[in-house]
């Protein structure tokens, strides 16, 4: 008999329970989706790195290295890599020779190429509609695509070291046999990949430099193409766990509140059962069905759906990171946690609600004494100076502070999620529209493989870039020497004024990251020869791209002992005709901007997901709380209706406090977001020469507000409809019984 009670009550309070079930569902869903996603990518990544002998470092020299000698002397695996950039149309395919010791390609589909064959990366293939078995034309020759491959030093597939975003549409990598590749090779320098144990490679660097003329040396942790993936995974992990556990916590608190109210409202019934001779355990068992049922209906479908939907998300995510997912792991632990964690939260919450009521004496339970004592405490005399309606509204809110607190937390959290998505888009947009147009005014950047003495291109501007590391850390700080009155790079102060290039001027992002002020001293170590420099910061420029510093070229050369007038690169407004073999790299700004624009759609996707989660989160929380309040106040609502109150007035009296809580939650969400971002940026991106200005700007805040306002208005509308459906004459009838 008693077993029927929970189902009946759930049916009667459908919307409330649906809301909680939805929240539990969201929590389990988010948790299982994110954790399964991350576990899969993590495990596959480790597998990939180990199997294919990822490099420890690589370097470029001007003359060929005696690999046998060096590898024996330093106990490392060393292998030369040959590569060639095949440009066709607006696309570039970087083709490598197949290596055997270091950075071995991992085949995800098909086979490694034989002669007359080529294997390409699947992202480029997908973006360009290429399949295994297709023919691919290179100049006048046809190559059969033998398979898809991944390279462990090109996990994040970007064309230039300095690119932020990948662009599989326009840039990809491929491998083929050296014999096939040889006819195209024309590089004036040599590229070596190395794998070995050790921390300090200074001796090796010195030897390479003296014998073979070292042009560049990059360790794994310094390699954007490798580290980006690891850092992205690292930054996604806390975000994913944070989001899902907060949703879970909020839904548990909500459930606790609803359960307690619900059970209190049934005090007469429970008291009667008690009086009839049912014991505490039997009654508890009946009422524990509420949390158990909501858990069953929410967590299990949520966890399973998260697991099923993980696949497309893994695909989406790896196209972003380019981690080969060869094996699909079934992380039972993740799924179990996603399903069981709500249980761990909800059952004690339900148990507490019941046992606190059952502790009272039977007569007390029947009378519902608890309610009365509660009300007596709150007279709120200080509210008397407000108008009647406002007074009731404030009283209602103050009586149920825990509810308002949940609402505030929920809205603050939804604000945080949405702000994250929106500002990510805004800051990328900013980068394109502001940084790349107003600050970097050049269109092409060329980096020579040797110091130049004479500038043969009158409209181009000289510059030099040298890589440094902050002493005692791994934080990269590249320094630029540029023309004193550069037309190509506008170094501006906070108010948009041009800064005079004297001493070392650092970017705002570097200053933020290292907490530097004007006048502080920066201790740097050269990445090329290990020399140490102490430089005083003479100014901070309003730039958010790159953790770098700028000096005028003359001072730069004097400071770092470079011959006067020498330079390494050119900024140019137009394309320069420089022979390929004189260049280490070149960059087309148009291309960078294009990559940004193309990636906008990926980010829009992310924002849509974020927006959806935060919209439903706030909608559900506000709706569940409102319907609880309305259900509790059915009788007064009925009386007020008889007296002639309009639905709108009643909703503003009963739920008006939610307006305040909503605003407080939203306003709380903004500093919370800024704090979190600072932490993420500082912790996760500490060692990277990468920085995004993710502070929430006015527009992002406005968009976030509008989306959440929509959820709020919708929940209010639903609440209003609930109030509308209360019939005064039915209330009168219920009373008589």
């Amino acid at each position: 008999m008693l077993q029927k009670i929970p189902w009946r009550i759930i049916k009667r309070n459908k919307s409330q329970f649906l809301g909680i079930i939805l929240l539990v569902f969201l929590a389990s869903f988010a948790y299982s989706l994110f954790s399964i996603l991350i576990t899969n990518v993590d495990l596959n990544y480790q597998h990939f790195v180990n199997e294919s002998n990822q490099e420890t470092f690589h370097f470029i020299t001007l003359s060929p290295v005696n690999t046998e000698e060096i590898s024996q002397k330093y106990g490392i695996d060393l292998e030369e890599r040959y590569s060639w950039d095949y440009d066709f149309g607006d696309k570039t395919l970087r083709i490598f020779s197949i290596s055997e010791k270091v950075n071995k390609p991992l085949v995800s589909e098909g086979t490694l190429p034989l002669n007359q064959e080529i294997a390409i990366d699947p992202n480029f293939a997908q973006a360009n509609g290429l399949k295994v078995g297709d023919n691919f034309q290179i100049q006048d020759k046809m190559f059969r695509i033998s398979g898809f491959i991944y390279l462990p030093d090109y996990i994040y597939i970007i064309k230039n070291d300095t690119d932020f975003l990948n662009d599989p549409q326009h840039f990809g990598i491929a491998v083929m046999n050296l014999d096939d590749l040889k006819p195209y090779l024309s590089l004036p320098y040599h590229y070596y990949m190395a794998r070995g144990e050790g921390e300090n490679w200074d001796n090796l660097k010195a030897e390479l430099n003296s014998k073979y003329r070292l042009l560049s040396f990059q360790e794994k942790w310094d390699n954007f193409r490798i580290i980006t993936t690891e850092k992205k995974m690292e930054s996604a992990r806390p975000m994913a766990y944070l989001i899902s556990s907060i949703i879970l916590t909020i839904s548990s608190i909500l459930l606790f509140i609803v359960l307690r109210r619900l059970i209190n409202s049934m005090h007469a019934e429970i008291g009667t059962l008690y009086a009839l001779g049912y014991n505490e355990r039997e009654i508890t068992n009946v009422y524990l069905k509420f949390p158990i049922l909501t858990w069953l209906l929410g967590a299990i479908p949520g966890g399973i759906l998260g697991f099923l939907l993980a696949d497309p998300f893994i695909k989406f995510y790896i196209s972003f990171l380019s981690v080969p997912v060869v094996e699909r792991f079934f992380p039972l632990a993740d799924l179990l946690i996603a399903v069981l964690l709500p249980f761990v939260f909800m059952i004690p919450a339900g148990y507490l609600a019941i046992s606190s009521l059952l502790k009272r004496r039977v007569v007390e339970i029947i009378k519902g004494e608890a309610e009365k004592g509660f009300k007596q405490k709150f007279r709120f005399a200080f509210l008397d100076r407000f108008s009647f309606r406002r007074r009731l509204m404030l009283k209602q809110g103050l009586l149920h502070l825990s509810r308002e607190l949940v609402l505030i937390l929920g809205v603050a959290f939804a604000t945080l999620i949405l702000l994250y998505g929106v500002s990510a888009a805004a800051s990328l947009n900013n980068m394109v529209n502001d940084t790349y147009q107003n600050i970097f005014k050049y269109n092409y950047m060329y980096l020579f493989n040797n110091f130049q003495r004479e500038n043969n291109y009158p409209e181009a501007e000289r510059f030099t870039i040298l890589p440094f590391t902050l002493e005692g850390t791994k934080t990269k700080v590249p320094l630029y020497g540029i023309e004193q009155n550069s037309r190509m790079i506008a170094v501006r102060g906070t108010n948009g004024e041009r800064m005079k290039l004297e001493g070392l001027i650092i970017t705002r992002s570097l200053a933020d990251k290292l907490s530097l002020k004007e006048g502080d001293v920066l201790n740097l170590v050269s990445n090329l020869d290990g020399k140490k420099f102490s430089l005083k910061v003479s100014g901070i420029a309003d730039m958010y791209v790159g953790n770098s510093g700028y000096m005028n070229l003359e001072e730069f050369n004097r400071t770092f002992g470079i011959e006067e007038g020498a330079f390494l690169g050119l900024f140019s407004p137009s394309k320069l005709d420089i022979p390929q073999n004189a260049l280490l790299s070149s960059m087309d700004k148009e291309y960078v901007i294009k990559v940004f624009r193309d990636s906008a759609s990926t980010i829009e996707q992310m924002i849509r997901v974020m927006g959806l989660i935060s919209f439903f989160l706030s909608l559900t929380i506000i709706y569940v709380l409102s319907s609880l309040t309305i259900a509790e106040n059915r009788k007064p609502l009925g009386i007020f209706k008889i007296l002639g109150y309009k639905d709108g007035e009643l909703s503003s009296i009963l739920l008006g406090f939610n307006n305040i809580s909503f605003l407080v939650g939203f306003l709380l969400g903004i500093p919370l977001y800024n704090f979190l971002m600072k932490m993420v940026m500082n912790q996760v991106l500490r060692d990277m020469d990468f920085s995004l200005n993710m502070r929430a700007d006015f527009q992002s805040i406005l968009i976030t507000f509008l989306v959440l306002l929509l959820a709020f208005v919708l929940s209010k509308y639903l609440g209003r409809r609930k109030i509308y459906s209360i019939s005064p004459s039915v209330i009168l009838k219920e009373q008589m019984e």
């Binding site: 007020f640 008889i642 009168l732």
Partner: protein, 232 residues
């Protein structure tokens, strides 16, 4: 004519049975009078009051109050009608339990533009000293007086009382009736009291008798007794 009830019928379908709560009922009520509707349980008193008060609508017929056909109003219109014209007093008081006495009275005062002074009304009802208490801290009689204060304070044209004395003992009941009589006299409020207590009807000059949803008698009482002298 203040209220015209023309051919009003109300049926309830309960399972297969059709219950006729009101049968083709017609009435004319004057402004400023005190009426008593008398009838046994189930005769349709509450149904009639609910229709007059705009809480329910008839299946057939018209109810015209102050020239306005309230049966033609939508829920919004009915809300406005109740707000402007009607006060209610119920058998079980129906005070809002989370509001104090004064707040309960303010809750209707708030709805009116030309209402009475809450303090004066509460004093008239003899419950001013309890103004800061919650309903559960009052006796039934006191609660009912607060309920009358709540109905009176907005100075409505019509007050509908459904068994106002039903849950009270003799003394308290008499007090309540006296107060209703006072209100009727002082403010010229039309008051309709539904009861099954024949004694109560003696205080009214117009008595309607209902039986099984039909008006069986609408009699003038040439010698109404002051509420103070009513006894049972």
């Amino acid at each position: 004519m203040f209220i015209e009830v023309v051919g009003v019928s109300k049926n309830y379908q309960v399972g297969e049975v059709k219950i006729c709560a009101l049968k083709d009922l017609s009435l004319n009520l004057d402004k400023g009078a005190l009426y008593v509707i008398l009838g046994p349980s189930g005769s349709g008193k509450t149904t009639l009051l609910n229709i007059l008060g705009g809480l329910d609508s008839p299946d057939k017929g018209k109810v015209i109050v102050d020239g306005e056909d309230i049966t033609a109003l939508d829920p919004k219109g009915l809300t406005l009608y109740r707000r402007k014209k009607v006060g209610f007093v119920f058998q079980f008081y129906n005070l809002v339990s989370s509001l104090t006495v004064l707040e309960n009275v303010l809750s209707t005062k708030y709805l009116s533009t030309d209402g009475l002074d809450p303090e004066e009304v509460l004093k008239t009802m003899g419950v001013w000293e309890h103004r800061a208490k919650f309903p559960f801290e009052l006796s039934g009689g006191e609660q009912q007086r607060v309920a009358i204060a709540r109905a009176v304070v907005k100075n409505p044209a019509l007050i509908l009382c459904d068994e106002p004395t039903g849950a009270l003992d003799f003394e308290n009941a008499k007090k309540v009736l006296e107060l209703l009589e006072d209100v009727n006299r002082k403010f010229g409020t039309t008051i309709i009291i539904a009861t099954h207590n024949v004694a109560v009807s003696r205080m009214s000059s117009k008595i309607m008798r209902l039986r099984s949803g039909e008006l069986v008698e609408f009699a003038e009482n040439p010698h109404p007794v002051p509420a103070k002298e009513v006894s049972w």
